[in-house]
Amino acid sequence: MNIASIIENHADDRVAIIDGEERVTYGELRAWAASIRQLLTERGIGPDDRVAVPAGNEPAFVAATLGALGVGARVIPMKPTNPLPELDRKLASIRPQLILVGEDAAWMHEHADGITAPMVDLRTVPRTAETSPDIVERDAGDIAIMMLTSGVSGDAKVAMLSHANLAWAQAAVCEDSPDGLGPDDVALAVLPFSHIFGLNVILLALLRQGGRVVLQRRFDVADSLDLCRRHGITVLGGAPPMWRQWSIVDSATDAFSTVRIAASGAAALPVSVFEDMQERHGITIEEGYGLTETSPIVTSSRGDAKAGSVGRAADGIEMLLVEDDGLPVDVGDAGEIVVRGPGIFEGYFDDTEATEAVLTPDGWFWTGDVGVLDEDGRLYIVDRIKDIIIVSGFNVYPAEVENVLLEHPDVRGAVVVGTIHLDTGEAVVAHVSGDVDTDELDRHARANLSRYKCPTAYHLVDELPVAPTGKKIRRELR
């Protein structure tokens, strides 16, 4: 198998990608990917070599990824913009044999002296080649994609996903049901392809089906709505900050009139956003749960969305909530989410210790997330296990405290972390943005939280550390 083959059987003249005024058909995309294969072969790149692709959501990224996969290489999608120290750290961790640089990452050529791996400007690669090597056959467990994890927990790693991992997750969202992706679907690809949701669930899954992918390189709420209207978007995938913006736009209902699948992932979707989208635009957002390490499908709410829940375990996924000793939690209790299934990654690149810390030999992946199941098997995410604050032995989930603080009308944003405390072990500290009287906020907290959960200190800040996906980067405040 080779997931580079997903576009091979679609009609030549069928449109695969729309980028502004440019349209790339499946025939053209195949030729472009073949040209990349030819280039890589000439450069001596073959099976298991590592090819980094720093690029935006641009057509060349798609051709480069499929081309590199086609020669059996491992592809590392990268954001087009990285601060130099971060770029250097990432390249040092993946040690690519070659870098295929997209248009949006062209600035990297000016930094060429600091990069040891050879770089190829994708703008210079011809879109067709007279001859090209065939797509290389790979084993199911061979690595296809190496994803740089977001590093929200403070320890960025490189997750290795096999051809079988990715193919399974694609099939999971494309199964033959009215709710699955199909050839007539048109997806807005605004989630970055350097994120597993944007890459595998939106881009690759839809290409597998022969659907049409409309690219948006940077999120802009007005532009995204224009694209929806213009192209009749049927599949809209977004991160919570995007959904928040879509939910508050008044004149967008016509833009969403063709949307039949609305999916949210990457971070917890606020219930208020779910409800606003339903009430204002008649759109039910289906929230799923997954991680880079799970390709990313773990749960799905498809056709059965409920506010606050990320849905039920996808077919083929075993999911349990456990104590840290591996025993299942009480009925209705919170526990760490552990999963096993065909999408579970092969491990972290070059980091056996990190792999063994989360992946057991019999295939259970310990996600580091705490969740709760309701009586119908629906999962609710509570928090990251690493973020739990222990006050006098009692667990405090930062998200619960943050939600209470956010209920105060003057609070714009809140991030809660733990700090060392001599008497109680740890204490709760709140970082808050907004025009807030901290004494009044403290009274609000004490009226709505158990005493041990109340912050012992409040810090007013202008901006809170929040990733573009909406995830709170708590380590920056510890």
Binding site: G308, L320, V322, D324, D325, G326, L327, P328, D330, V331, G332, D333, A334, V338, E356, A357, V358, L359, T360, P361, D362, W364, W366, V372, L373, D374, Y380, V382, I390, S392, G393, F394, N395, Y397, E400, S450, R451, Y452
Partner: protein, 265 residues
């Protein structure tokens, strides 16, 4: 605060577990005996509603907790007890006659039946007592709550009354059959706690914070140190129903309990 025998109203409930006659006269005798033999101090009795359902959640240190807490109440109370009492000739008739609801510790449908009975007690507007730790604490610490009480609270829309007591461990240490007379015992009832004050009762994420908050209040009432691990992982007295235990292997460096890790791997 009182050390005198509180007024008592016997609530008739012929459809619920227990013998009406044994409960009425037996409980009356036990109450008088306890107040005569021990220096019992009761605090916060006004926090227990004089009518309507409520779930009493005491800390659990000694077998005699099941004596001192009920006799501190002005109302009849039903309680869950481990199913093994039904296998012992000394207890198999007496305890159910007093209204004990036996729970099958193997879990599953049998355990669910006990919780269903508890729900009937609450739905009938009565008091129900359950030890949230699920078993006696052998360490003396207050341990993490099982979720049964919190779930019953949601199911029956009944408040939880946290209860903290001191002195029962001296009266009857573990494995002692006889209760030592003359010692002081204090039972403190906290204010009623409603799950709606801790979040959306329909959101399953509210259960654990509610259960933890109950333990926090019990710790204030009992003066115990709280530890966020289950009581009795090693002993055999767990009375809260447990689900079956499919084993998930544990990555190195995660488990806190070497014994359980060994069992799981």
């Amino acid at each position: 605060m009182t050390s005198t025998l509180p007024d008592f109203t016997f609530e008739t409930a012929p459809d619920l577990p227990g013998s009406e006659r044994v409960s009425r006269y037996g409980l009356s005798a036990v109450r008088r005996l306890v107040h005569k033999l021990w220096d019992l101090t009761i605090e916060g009795q006004e926090n227990v509603p004089s009518e309507g359902p409520a779930i009493l959640c005491p800390n659990h240190l000694s077998f005699c907790d099941s004596v001192f807490v009920p006799v501190s109440l002005r109302r009849r109370v039903w309680a869950i007890g481990k199913g093994e009492y039904m296998d012992d000739w000394k207890t198999k008739h007496l305890f159910p006659a007093f209204g004990m609801i036996p729970v099958d510790r193997s879990g599953g449908e049998a355990a669910q039946a006990a919780l269903d009975t508890a729900a009937r007690v609450l739905d009938g507007g009565h008091l129900f007592m359950i030890y949230p730790e699920g078993t006696r604490s052998r360490s003396g610490n207050l341990h993490k709550a099982r979720t049964g009480a919190a779930r019953l609270s949601v199911r029956c829309d009944a408040p939880i009354i946290p209860v903290g007591h001191e002195g029962t461990l001296d009266v009857q240490p573990p494995d002692q059959f006889v209760m030592k007379p003359g010692l002081p015992v204090t039972v403190r009832f906290g204010e009623p706690m409603h799950i709606r004050d801790f979040g959306d009762p329909d959101d399953p994420r509210t259960i654990r914070p509610f259960a933890d908050a109950v333990m926090f209040e019990i710790a204030q009432l009992s003066g115990q140190k709280y530890v966020h691990t289950y009581a009795g992982a090693e002993d055999e007295e767990t009375v809260e129903p447990k689900v079956a235990t499919p084993v998930v292997s544990v990555p190195p460096g995660r488990a806190r309990s070497p014994k359980l890790t060994a069992a799981a791997s």
